[in-house]
């Protein structure tokens, strides 16, 4: 069974690009979701083994998604242009991949994230 990756990214073109690379790398992409509500719905209804989250989603943050994934023990990483100094408290030491990320790097990070199990 393919590993399911939830992609949460509000910029559709990036979401599509990320999804393309992950699909090409052999993952099954869940989403992409462009909002917190959609992401939480997908987690509930479809589920995922790992997630790639943007930190800021329009006027929301990914905090509720991160805490839901944490409570489920699902590993995830952040992919964001947020400056490291500006990371919110709830980020809590999660993996941060800086935007723009090279596709190979992203794929490797997701693989490592799944392999190591929950990171947070």
């Amino acid at each position: 069974m393919m590993t399911r990756v939830l992609v949460v990214e509000d910029e559709a073109i990036l979401a599509i690009d990320i999804a393309t690379h992950l699909t090409d790398a052999g993952f099954s992409v869940v989403g992409p979701a462009t909002s917190v509500t959609k992401a939480l719905t997908l987690i509930g209804e479809v589920g995922c083994d790992v997630a790639v989250l943007d930190v800021n989603l329009r006027d929301e943050t990914a905090e509720p998604i991160a805490s839901e994934l944490r409570s489920r023990g699902t590993p995830f990483l952040f992919l964001s242009g947020v400056y490291r100094d500006q990371l919110p408290d709830w980020f809590d030491g999660a993996i941060l991949l800086s935007k723009p990320a090279r596709p190979a790097m992203l794929v490797a990070a997701v693989r490592q994230c799944v392999g190591n199990g929950p990171l947070t």
Binding site: I13, T20, N56, Y83, K99
Partner: protein, 413 residues
């Protein structure tokens, strides 16, 4: 009995003169007249005796240019004079009809205004008045025995005048000091107030500076964030731009980046909010020049888009127009494009519709392979605006339509 005085000019002794001049010059700066001196700068001396003859003698003895002698022949006259003017010295005969010199002195000493005026009693040798005079405070009162020794009287008067001048000088100095102290206190208070104001201003400035600095830092972070996002978009476009050759890739990629840049200018101009949809459409079609208005028509209401919606719609318009040039309405001489937008108010959320309709171009054939352009105008637009896109390869001309709740394209989404 009184000695007949010698000629006044001789007797206004140098000693007396020196005393007075010294005292006056110290007490009164040039042009300033002591308060008890009369208008012409002379010092008032009150002489009281019921015998006009004696008064004349006193006048003769004390005649000097800087003394003004005021005569009083009774206690009443003396009191009247004391009410009207100020005196440096009073020379008082003890034996007078009516109120005696003692009684008058008593009244003078009891009156606050005159209590400090020194009095010289004129008395006879070895009489019973001696002990009464000694009962007075020394300094306030002095006495001379008759017959009067002119030199001694002049000397005593001069000393007392000098004493009063000194006192006056002291009072002046004191007044000046008090004024200065008051002024200093005032200045100090002003200084203190200024200091407080300054401190307040420094605090305010510092606070403003801190806020400005914080704003700059926030802005820098925001710029960083946006730059990274736009770089990510550029990278995604590069990744997704498929091409048969390197030249073709460069061409397509450059065009897409150019379209992004045009959009970006508009976003910056509108400070990342409220972008006029008409400006956006015209911006993306600008390179068609006069085709806009001739073969390309725009029709829609005034509508302002959020930055996100503007970026998305801008990219869509770029892909649609690129396609139109290559395969669609703008690849022939007659083809036309109608771009329309509207907001439909209904029972549900108001719906925004944007339509791109081509006509009179070459017959349309649906492409076998769906490239990135198609992804942009369908999937990406739908995902970004949380709406629906319809793409119809009608043979008469390509029709693309976007529908989404109007709130999704407005600022604040």
């Amino acid at each position: 009995m009184v000695h007949t005085p010698p000629t006044n000019t001789e007797i206004v002794s140098p000693v007396t003169n020196i005393h007075i001049q010294g005292a006056r010059s110290a007490a009164s700066p040039p042009g300033e007249i002591p308060s008890f001196a009369s208008g012409n700068g002379r010092i008032n001396i009150l002489i009281v005796d019921d015998e006009p003859k004696n008064l004349m003698v006193l006048e003769a003895i004390l005649d000097a240019p800087h003394y003004r002698l005021i005569r009083a022949e009774s206690a009443e006259q003396a009191l009247l004079a004391l009410l009207k003017e100020e005196f440096a010295v009073i020379i008082l005969d003890i034996r007078m009809p009516g109120a005696t010199g003692f009684e008058l002195a008593q009244m003078i000493k009891e009156r606050k205004k005159t209590s400090q005026i020194p009095i010289i009693f004129l008395t006879a040798y070895y009489n019973e008045d001696q002990h009464v005079i000694e009962g007075y405070d020394s300094g306030a009162v002095d006495y001379l025995h008759k017959p009067i020794n002119p030199a001694i009287l002049r000397s005593k008067v001069a000393v007392l005048v000098e004493l009063h001048l000194k006192q006056l000088q002291l009072e002046n100095v004191n007044r000046a000091l008090l004024a200065e102290i008051a002024e200093r206190r005032d200045i100090q208070e002003q200084l203190s107030n200024l200091n407080d104001t300054l401190e307040q201003r420094v605090l305010e400035r510092t606070e403003a500076y801190r806020e400005a600095e914080q704003q700059i830092r926030m802005l820098m972070n925001e710029v960083n964030h946006r730059s990274k996002n736009i770089l990510s978009v550029v990278m995604a476009i590069a990744q997704q731009t498929a091409a048969a050759s390197r030249d073709e890739f460069v061409q397509r990629f450059s065009n897409r980046i150019h379209a992004l840049a045009v959009n970006h200018d508009l976003l910056v101009k509108s400070q990342w909010k409220s972008i006029d949809i008409s400006d956006l459409v015209r911006g993306q079609l600008a390179h068609f020049g006069d085709l806009v208005g001739r073969r390309i028509s725009l029709d829609g209401q005034l509508l302002f888009l959020s930055a996100t919606a503007a970026q998305c719609i801008g990219m869509v318009l770029h892909e649609l127009s690129t396609n139109a040039v290559k395969h669609g309405a703008l690849s022939s001489e007659e083809g036309r494009i109608e771009i329309t937008w509207k907001v439909k108010i209904g029972p549900a959320d108001p719906l925004f519709t944007l339509t791109w309709m081509e006509s009179a171009g070459p017959p349309v054939v649906a492409p076998a392979h769906k490239g990135f352009g198609t992804t942009v105008i369908t999937k990406m637009a739908a995902m970004n605006l949380d709406g629906e896109t319809h793409l119809d390869y009608a043979s008469s001309g390509l029709i693309w339509r976007l529908e989404c709740p109007v709130k999704n394209i407005r600022e604040g989404k």
